[in-house]
């Protein structure tokens, strides 16, 4: 059926079609443009997510700045009869490692230190390559985007660890644990990178390749 379109179009955008992100209904925009709603589910329609790259950049830069205090400031401070101690994310990982639970140390290190950092780098790469209208590694970049979306939520791990630690130790009464300022910064990093990933439109990866080959039916040469 797609062969019988008005012209050879591989992308919905080239055929002037808007794809509803909720129900998947395709529709043709009226000439005037303006604010459109899906005729089937009434969700707002956009050819691409509005101001996608600018929003992604702003959120990623904010997340990158907050990543510094999130790692340098104390995540929690412990006070007991034996003295007091302040823990950053990294010293928490080292504590887990030294106490012999190295699989969990690896999980926390990966979720709290590596994932946010890799996510920031991945989003910078995705936004920059889309902005340069790169036509390379289309599939790989789409997969990278999917991974960023999937893995981001696991960074929330340390926030939950703090929650349970503070609650249990406070109840038990022998020591006090307080969440430190890094917890707020870290939570903000997770939320900001999640919003950044949501505001990035993966179709921007494919648009330059589609534009560069208006008559040739296939830009598959870019694929790995």
């Amino acid at each position: 059926m797609s062969r019988e379109l008005p012209f050879i179009a591989r992308q919905a955008r080239q055929a002037g079609l808007l794809n509803c992100h909720i129900c998947g209904q395709l529709s043709r925009a009226p000439a005037g443009g303006g604010f459109l709603r899906c005729p089937r589910c009434r969700a707002p329609l956009h050819m691409r997510k509005p101001a996608s790259l600018a929003t992604t950049w702003a959120l990623v830069i904010a997340a990158a700045i907050l990543y510094i205090p999130a790692n340098l400031l104390p995540m929690m401070s412990t006070a007991s009869l034996l003295g007091s101690q302040e823990d950053t994310i990294m010293s928490g990982v080292i504590f887990l490692w030294q106490s012999g639970s190295w699989p969990l140390a690896a999980v926390v290190f990966f979720a709290s230190v590596m994932v946010p950092l890799l996510k920031i780098f991945a989003l910078v790469y995705l936004a920059a390559s889309a902005q340069r209208r790169s036509r390379h590694r289309l599939i790989q970049r789409t997969r990278l985007y999917r991974m960023v979306e999937f893995v981001g939520r696991w960074s929330m791990l340390d926030i939950y660890v703090i929650t349970i630690l503070v609650a249990l130790v406070k109840f038990q009464g022998l020591a006090t644990i307080q969440a430190g300022p890094a917890a707020v910064a870290f939570g903000a990093v997770v939320v900001l990178t999640m919003f950044a990933a949501m505001s990035f439109d993966p179709r921007l990866i494919w648009d330059p390749a589609a534009d560069s080959a208006p008559s040739s039916p296939d830009p598959d040469s870019d694929h790995a």
Binding site: S2, S27, R28, I164, G187
Partner: protein
Amino acid sequence: MLAPDAHPSLPAALIACHECDLLQTEPVLAPGETARCARCGAFLARNPPDSVDRSLALCLAAAILYLIANVYPLVGLEMQGQRVEVTLAGALLILWRDGMQPVAALVGVTTLVFPLLELAMILVVLVPLRLGRVSPRLAPFFRLVRAVKPWSMVEVFLLGMLVSLVKLSHLADVILGAAFWAMAALIVVLTLAGRAFDSRLLWQTPVIENSP
């Protein structure tokens, strides 16, 4: 009406990939089959068997598990005969009073409010579907489910509980409460419910044609 509608002017079998925008014909799916984008491999649709009945049953089970997970203690410590246990709400309250309101709010929203909202909205959509009343008025609820989903993080919270218990295990004996197991089961049931639900069932109503 304020907003002009876009015109639906194409055969219903034509769809576009939401990740790479490739136009393709919607494949006819056998029960249990999944459709992926021909170019980028993005998930397009699934045809789960007995979609409405199964997802409704799973969502009702999830609702019961959610209740157990929030009423009973999650985890606890036992030390010299003294036993302390916390519920999810109790932990949040302590964090809130400790001057960590932003963190408490973030945890509360992602583990308590949004999972509940997600579950409630799925049920709001599923019950009329089960009764055979497909209506365009269900669409906003479904949109809410989609908006809330990335932010409900029960499975991450469960792993977080495990990590914190390991950290405390040198101080005292740790106890896994009834709510902990309910939450573990909730994750499984919610995942199955998500896989069982075919959102295309919602859009069976014919598209309202607007004249321009």
